[in-house]
Amino acid sequence: MTVHELRTRPADSKRGDASDGGALAGQVGGRLSRVDGPAKITGAAKYAVEQQLDGLSHAVLVESTIAAGRVRSIDTAAAQAAPGVLKVLTPDNALRLNTATDWLGTPPPDVPYCPLARDITFSGQHVAAVVAESFEQAVAAAALVKVSYDEAPVIADLSDAKAGDGIPVDAMTKEWGDAEAAFAAAPVRICAAYNTPREYQAPMEPHGLIAQWQGDQLTVWEPSQWLDGMARTYAEWFGVPFENVRLVSPYIGGGFGSKAFAYGYGAVAAMAAKMLGRPVKLAVTRPQTFTAYGGRAATRQTVALGANAEGQIQSIVHRGVNETSVDGMWVEPLGSVTSIMYATPNFSSRQNVVRVNSVVPGALRAPGENPSAFGIECAIDELAYEVGIDPLEIRLRNYAEQDPEAKKPWSTRQLREAFAAGAEAFGWSKRSPEPRSMRDGNQLIGWGVAAGTYPVRRAYGEAVVRILADGSVEVESSSIDMGQGTYTILAQTAAETLGVPADNVVVKLGDSRYARAGVTGGSRLAGVMTGAVHKAATAALDQLVGLAISDPRSPFHALQPNTLVVTEGRISSPRGDGPDVPIAELLGSVGRDRIEAKGDTMPANSTPEERYKNYTTIAMALPHTEGDYSRHSWCAHFIEVRVDEDFGTVRVSRVVSALDSGRLYNPKLAESQWKGGIIMGIGQALLEEGIVDRRHGRIVNNNLADYLIATNADIPDIEVISVGIPDPHSSALGGKGVGELGIVGVAPAIANAVFHATGMRVRDLPITLEKLI
């Protein structure tokens, strides 16, 4: 349970600046500082695996050192005999668990599940685990477990000759017109291949959990983007009712897509806790985070654009491939941006997946849209040079006035405004068009532009809002805050709806005992939860006003008003002709210690089964093209790079991005999240690459010194401009997605800038110096 007793400081209540339309800081749209900030900057915020429990034991995983084959034997004798060891778990003594339902809600096959493998399909697979009294003893004993294998040939990655062309994913096929013929007939044609490597979420808080059983009740403290979804998985694995599993995740040290599911190590820890009858903590080590769950799949795309001499696109032919694991399926939707960014009468996109010996890949910030934009946003830049048109101008010439795929109007699309505002702030008109035409001494300067987009994912949500006897307000939800600002924007939403100061609102998140919540992913949480809290707070306000009007003990009763207003925590008649009393006083006079309301945006006739399905799977998510509109957020990035002419080193020196996320619930926090996405995009463009050992199928650089993410010294000042307008079709309060949008389009903007600087087109990420000299 997380309660932010540290209230916001008075200085935060001042009026926000012009970018939020002057909203008060404590209201929706205001620049309130994070309400969970004081806890985080003083070290008081306890993250999930930081709970201190009596009798805690420590589990350490043993992982496969081969990528394909079979475990022949596991010699545990030395580990068993090591000091402090409580248990060595192997497939031989592991509990038999059930296979759980997947996130789509697909009923699981009736086969047992063992999180420790005998058949090895990737390097780093869990094969055993050691539990000991202390962490140090467990680490030492784990090193004594001897595993011998029968090794089989490895398919290391996509470029492995044995990998083949893969399996067509028909659901990804999108076609209209006759794309191949129109391409063949087009006066201008370009066609190129674009590749992205394996990339990793690398949140600063590594994964892990503490599991504790009390009878058949399981409590799991684990960083989680989806408490109810993960609780369902644990419940199904162990064959206990969903209600018996409690997930607690008060703060999450970053997720970026990687903390939405219960993974095998969670099953290992919960199993060990059950077998030992005491709480078990399992901290995934940083190297293990590269294989305990999947990062972004490596991808390959070819994009063929046929156009007329004016640069108007006549056909797009797109083919994509992503890697998946030997026994799991991950599809990274590579045609997602390709099919909607530009108007074209002819279009074809198809995709295959290729099985390789890797952990099943997973979601990393804007799965699909991110690599998809790298393909199409580089390709249109290439077309611009081919026909001799400014890269910004060619995007406007091909502007899609409606969704070319769904053939529906956009709910809102402020992309033209984004191009205009970004170009103005960046000074794009001063760009000299020729590659290698701008320089500063030894540095070649390049300016690039690219657009990005992310669909508005919508879902149903619920929340509880409580007005307490002292007039303070509580909001409860089992949704989470991993840095997006959920604590803060839900406080603002409740405060504005109820008419109380934001510092009188306490938001409680991150405990599956609170009102249910679906996944925090796909940039959907803010839209879902502000809607649910708004609804709950409105219901609570109605109850409060109803009491004040109808209860004979109320000071308002004699006035016989039709309605009352609440502002700054005081209730009064809108005409200003009656009493004006604090909420606490009113509750006292009518003898109530609280008012409580649940807000629930599910359709009214929903069954309990539908509700369960809604919160524990994504099967009931609403398509972004449902009804009359196509809903997306949009952005345009303008980026300057400086490339050392002799050494080929690339530095990003300036970024201006204009973004349309609709209405911003808190611009201060939204700007931070946008910048975070842009910064991750800079790392993706220039640094990030999981390097695979081709002989053994291993990730060689499985640590933070060798898997390079951007550091402070890699990042210039970044200017972000909000061009969004409220979008009533996307969410109750008018916002669209924020979290994923910022990264989409950054890598192609940098690749395009590098081309402008050097005249060299790098189509393989990351853009490292050896590709430029």
């Binding site: 004081p38 900057i41 993250y47 590594p206 010294a713």
Partner: protein
């Protein structure tokens, strides 16, 4: 190796006696044995800066320091930075105001580094701040706001 050794640590001005194995790191001593979980473990390999604490005023990676090595020295962690009465250190206040964090996991390490960076006289320009704060990774990408916060706190310290 089960032998335990008793270690005396002075943390945030308070004395602590610990019975731990000699191989226990300062980071695990703080987090697991003393419940001081404000200092974070991001890698346990000296690569991320999340575990930064001050030992005798110098920034040190607690994951690369044995608890025993810190005996007899004065250790300051994030929990000891604010005044006794709860008044935030200028760097903490600047981090809140500038929104210099999102998930908050790298933040204690960033703040401890920032305090030292300013004290060392390495906060003279934005470029210098970027360079001297480059050992503290932030995957949320709060870097520009961290620079702004360090700049703000450095200016307050100078005035």
């Amino acid at each position: 190796m089960t032998s335990r050794t008793s270690i005396h640590l002075t943390i945030n001005g308070h004395d602590h006696e610990l019975e731990v194995e000699p191989r226990v790191t300062l980071l695990d001593a703080l987090r697991d044995h003393l419940g001081l979980t404000g200092t974070k473990k991001g890698c346990d390999q000296g690569q991320c800066g999340a575990c930064t604490v001050h030992v005798d005023g110098q920034r040190v990676l607690a994951c690369l320091t044995l608890a025993a090595q810190a005996q007899g020295r004065s250790i300051t962690t994030i929990e000891g930075l604010a005044e006794q009465d709860g008044t935030l250190h200028a760097v903490q206040a600047a981090f809140l105001e500038q929104d210099a964090f999102q998930c908050g996991y790298c933040t204690p390490g960033q703040i401890m580094s920032a305090v030292a960076c300013i004290r060392e006289g390495h906060a003279g320009s934005d470029d210098e701040i970027r360079e001297y704060m480059a050992g503290n990774l932030c995957r949320c990408g709060a870097y520009p706001h961290i620079v702004a916060a360090v700049r703000q706190a450095a200016m307050e310290a100078a005035s």
